[in-house]
């Protein structure tokens, strides 16, 4: 895996963008220009987005050789091909083939979103688009690498990347309603490092998405985070399932409160998030093919660790941006709590242990984390000189670490798929 930054790209742009995402403003008459909204601009019409922090969506890479071993039928006797074939059939149906078609209401709705709400809307779209695009890249690469060792799994990964490309493309189109577009295209060049020209450095996107991929000639130099395969599998399972719950909650809330439906994007969420849910199911099948990830003390610790990482990241992220959810009539905290509780219940059907999120202690401590985090954010925006800021951060970070540790040592719930239980115990957990 080559993650070196492209030299040409580096030379072509000033260093100011090295940690940010670049969004290109269209020349169209904007309701508000990026500058008006307080976005940093690096030159006319190109804005620099927020700095990358621990909580921003990121891009992942992994050990593809090890992945090949997981999916090789010769090497891994635990592969349940019946389950994987069933997933492939489900993805081939392509339920949403004709779903992501925009209508004429988008543009006008976007123009009616003004002031601070406009800014947080753009941020939401940008983060969502980046997250979907990140999934696209990872799945696409896995699809390419696994072609020889397991054609079924390779095709599934390709179909997952098809879905993610659609989602990212749809979000990028939404950004264009706000006279902006994310420059995503350069990324693939970034990771292929020139050794493979089979796709010409561009993600091969079908249909309408080809246009934005080809157009995206700008820069988005993002570091790739390396995760070992087992961690990628835990983390992507959780992010797909939590993605489903987030989208369906927003959808159902707006379905019943149409006055808060200020932008038509959300009307697409019900069908959209079925994709996420299915992706999660596939990753569940993958986890089951690695029983060492679902059984034993170490597996339990990692399971809880990944649950908490995903829940805490979302809780801090969303509460930091509660204005967005309020703009569509939601109570951010309750919404997040519901998402975490239900995601945890989905995960109980698979992971050997999960945190007990329904214990009152859990959200009490999570809320303390939110308070500490907002102190950190406020510090970052203060006028204090940088060294003093760092110093002032330390006690807050110390409190956060202590709080996270307390959450981690809370009594967990033992759980797991019935398939992993001895026959005698199966009936106890179900039916």
């Amino acid at each position: 895996m080559q993650t070196a930054r492209p030299v040409a790209a580096k030379a072509a742009r000033p260093t100011v963008i090295s940690r940010g995402r670049v969004v290109r403003a269209r020349a169209a008459a904007a309701a508000e220009s990026p500058e008006d909204m307080g976005f940093k601009t690096m030159r006319d019409g190109v804005k620099v987005a927020a700095d990358e922090t621990l909580l921003t969506p990121r891009f992942y890479t992994t050990d593809f050789d090890e992945m090949e071993q997981i999916f090789s039928q010769q090497i891994n006797p635990n592969l349940n091909m019946a389950e994987l074939d069933a997933m492939l059939a489900e993805f081939r149906n392509d339920y949403n083939q004709r779903h992501f078609v925009r209508n004429e209401t988008f543009k006008a709705a976007a123009e009616n979103i003004t002031g601070p709400t406009r800014k947080i809307f753009i941020e939401f779209l940008e983060r969502s688009c980046t997250a979907e695009f990140s999934g696209f890249l990872l799945y696409k690469e896995l699809g390419r690498r696994l072609k020889d060792c397991n054609p079924c799994v390779a095709e599934i990964f390709m179909l997952l990347s098809r879905d993610e490309a659609r989602h990212a493309g749809f979000l990028n189109k939404a950004l264009s309603d706000f006279n902006l577009a994310l420059d995503l295209g350069f990324l693939t060049k970034n990771r292929r490092g020139g050794s493979d020209s089979s796709s010409g450095g561009w993600p091969r996107l079908a249909g309408v998405h080809g246009s934005w991929a080809a157009r995206g000639l700008g820069l988005c130099r993002r570091k790739y985070t390396f995760f070992k395969p087992k961690f990628i599998i835990y983390a992507t399972y959780l992010s797909e399932k939590i993605g489903y719950w987030r989208y369906i909650c927003i959808y159902r809330h707006l379905q019943r409160n149409p006055d808060s439906q200020i932008y038509p994007l959300f009307e697409y969420f019900e069908n959209w998030c079925q994709d996420e849910n299915r992706h999660g199911d596939f990753l569940a099948a993958v986890l089951k093919a690695k029983p060492d990830l679902l059984e034993g003390t170490v597996a339990k610790l990692w399971s809880r660790f990944f649950c908490l990482s995903v829940y805490i990241t979302m809780y801090l992220n969303d509460n930091q941006r509660s204005a967005f959810y309020e703009s569509i009539g939601m109570n951010t905290k309750l919404f997040n709590q519901h998402v975490i509780i239900e995601t945890n219940k989905s995960t109980e059907r698979l992971f050997p242990a999960v945190p007990d999120v329904e214990s009152p202690e859990f959200f009490m401590r999570m809320d303390r984390l939110v308070e500490y985090n907002s102190k950190l954010v406020a510090l970052g925006k203060s006028d204090l000189p940088a060294p003093l800021q760092s110093l002032a951060r330390l006690p807050i970070i110390e409190r956060m670490v202590a709080e996270i540790f307390q959450i981690f040592i809370m009594k967990p719930k033992d759980c797991g798929s019935v398939d992993m239980l001895p026959a005698a115990e199966q009936a106890q957990v179900m039916y």
């Binding site: 389950e83 927003i250 069908n271 199911d281 099948a285 309750l334 509780i341 798929s417 009936a427 179900m430």
Partner: protein, 141 residues
């Protein structure tokens, strides 16, 4: 060559009705079945899945498995065994029964109707429950 196509084999996923109909976690089943029905309409295919309340065959033909299932119960049945494999992966806490040798009429024969479920208010939920009875749309005619 057989003169008639072989009789269709059905597969069922059975669980108590509360699991299917009265658990926020499984409201996604309503979305899935609607999506699938829509897909079948678009493809011009005949629907090959149903929900059967308190299926007659459970106690009549599968008494041992029947004992494991709390009542009232509901069965998701389909002739698409591949899809059922996927649904088992999704729902996990359901009992899979291959309805070997049963006719379509036998498979779809329902028992007692499901009761009305008490639906507790969930204080974190940003939306109310799906309207009770969504499952009846997927009963055999």
């Amino acid at each position: 060559m057989p003169r008639f196509p072989p009789p269709q084999e059905w597969v069922a996923l059975v669980a108590n009705a509360e699991f299917f109909c009265n658990d926020v976690q499984n409201e996604s089943l309503a979305e899935q079945l609607r999506e699938k029905a829509r897909y079948f309409r678009e493809q011009g295919k005949e629907q090959d899945f149903f929900l059967v309340p308190n299926p007659k065959w459970l106690d009549a033909k599968y008494p041992a498995q029947g004992k494991q299932v709390r009542r009232p119960c509901l069965a998701l049945v389909s002739t698409d065994t591949t899809w059922i494999t996927f649904m088992k992966l999704r729902l996990d806490r359901v009992l899979k029964i291959e309805l070997v040798g049963l006719t379509t009429e036998e498979v779809l024969e329902a028992g007692e109707a499901l009761p009305e479920f008490k639906r507790p208010e969930i204080k974190t939920s940003p939306y109310p429950w799906y309207s009770a009875g969504w499952w009846e749309k997927f009963y055999p005619n």
